[in-house]
Amino acid sequence: MIQKTVSDAEEAIRGLRDGMTAMFGGFGLCGIPENAIAAIRALGIKNLVCISNNAGVDGFGLGLLLETRQIRKMISSYVGENDEFERQMLSGELEVELVPQGTLAERCRAAGAGIPAFYTPAGYGTEVAEGKEVRVFGGKPHILEHAFEADFAFVKAWKGDEAGNLIYKGTARNFNPMMAMAGKITVAEVEELVPAGALDPNEIHTPGIFVQRIFLGAHFEKRIEQRTVRSKTAQF
């Protein structure tokens, strides 16, 4: 089989150039491709258009690429609590396109599945619908949304094999599977990399066909954004 396994994030991001569009899996800081982000920062690639549900926080996640002004435009559903993001956005340094979360997910899937456009009720009657075709189905107005295009997709999985098959863990799955489908080049970083045949074919979340490069992440911080706990005696 063609070699998909690369040694590290630096090798994995080869070909990513200034001005390209890249997808980043993850929801908040959960399931984000930490190693790829670090490598992109180290390489100093500029003017990226980033498609990611969120924009990280100050000092972590995509916040690391905002600090170094490597992002020209963010396409997200929620940009959250991020001072540097806010500063760049208000100053006009950073372009921001807000997309309803379900539409964001579906536009990624559509890109991967060869569906150029679809109708959704989300955003009808709001500024999200401005300039978009409206059509009524079953008495309900819907708007036309288009598939994204992305040069690269950076995803993070729990386990992966050398054929590129991926298994995610818990809610760290989120946007990763659709983005894996959508990238012209999809780069997966995993916590555990095993030989082809070591994963049960029935339990694969992302079939290897969607993944062009895979590597064992050097280190995952897996930072928690909102640590919420209960005491052993409290009720739900």
Binding site: C30, Q101, T228
Partner: protein
């Protein structure tokens, strides 16, 4: 008058056995604390879990297990994890039967505004636009007036909309109002609240029946 927990408690009465429910951030999250003994509902969080449980015990937090508010959570028996496209498939496809969320403004025709204030930093709509465009039961949990004392139940929303003609019910600290036929219909008063106060604090068209019961909590 209800406090936040009271609002959540009253909304919990809207839950029916077997419902799949999505709870927004803030007061809606509290609804999970007041599910009646006799019924069972499953909570969906749009980042990819069905069967969301309570916060984990200290030391048992898992970075790979959070809710849409980015809080660490647990999974109950019978839970499932899935990707965001499937998650919003559940929402858009009306498999999630009830959505409870907060709002800045609601109009008499059921429009809702809860994501953007012009001139202020916009954080984004997240999943709210998908949720309000889809669920059959959209219940808004909010205060009846804003900090300036102005009604949040309006003829028309002044803020940018999140969704059009979608809100079914509003539960505030003052009462329960159903939205239909272009008007708020007062269904119940909160304990100790007069119809007069609700009338005074509701800017949109308000239909008040002859008898407005005080809610039972």
């Amino acid at each position: 008058m209800l406090d936040k927990n009271g609002i959540a408690r009253r909304i919990a009465q809207e839950l029916q056995d077997g419902f799949y429910v999505n709870l927004g951030i803030g007061i809606p999250t509290l609804v999970a604390n007041y599910v009646s003994e006799g019924i069972s509902v499953e909570f969906q969080s749009e980042n990819g879990i069905l069967g969301m449980g309570p916060f984990p015990f200290e030391g048992e937090e898992d970075a790979d297990l959070i809710n849409a508010g980015k809080q660490t959570i647990t999974a109950l028996p019978g839970a499932s994890f899935f990707d965001s496209a499937t998650s919003f498939g559940m929402i858009r496809g009306q498999h999630v039967q009830m959505t409870v969320l907060g709002a800045m403004e609601v109009s008499e025709s059921g429009d809702i505004a809860n994501w953007k204030i012009p001139g202020k930093m916009v954080k984004g709509m997240g999943g709210a636009m998908d949720l309000v465009a889809s669920a059959e039961n959209i219940i808004v949990a909010m205060m009846h007036t804003n900090k300036a004392g102005e009604s949040k139940l309006l003829k028309q929303c002044s803020l940018p909309l999140t969704g059009v003609g979608c809100v079914r019910k509003v539960v505030t600290e003052l009462g329960v109002l159903e939205i239909k036929d272009g008007a708020f219909h007062l269904l119940e008063r909160a304990p100790g609240v007069s119809v007069k106060e609700i009338v005074a604090k509701t800017e949109g068209k308000l239909v008040v029946p002859d008898f407005v019961p005080e809610m039972a909590l």
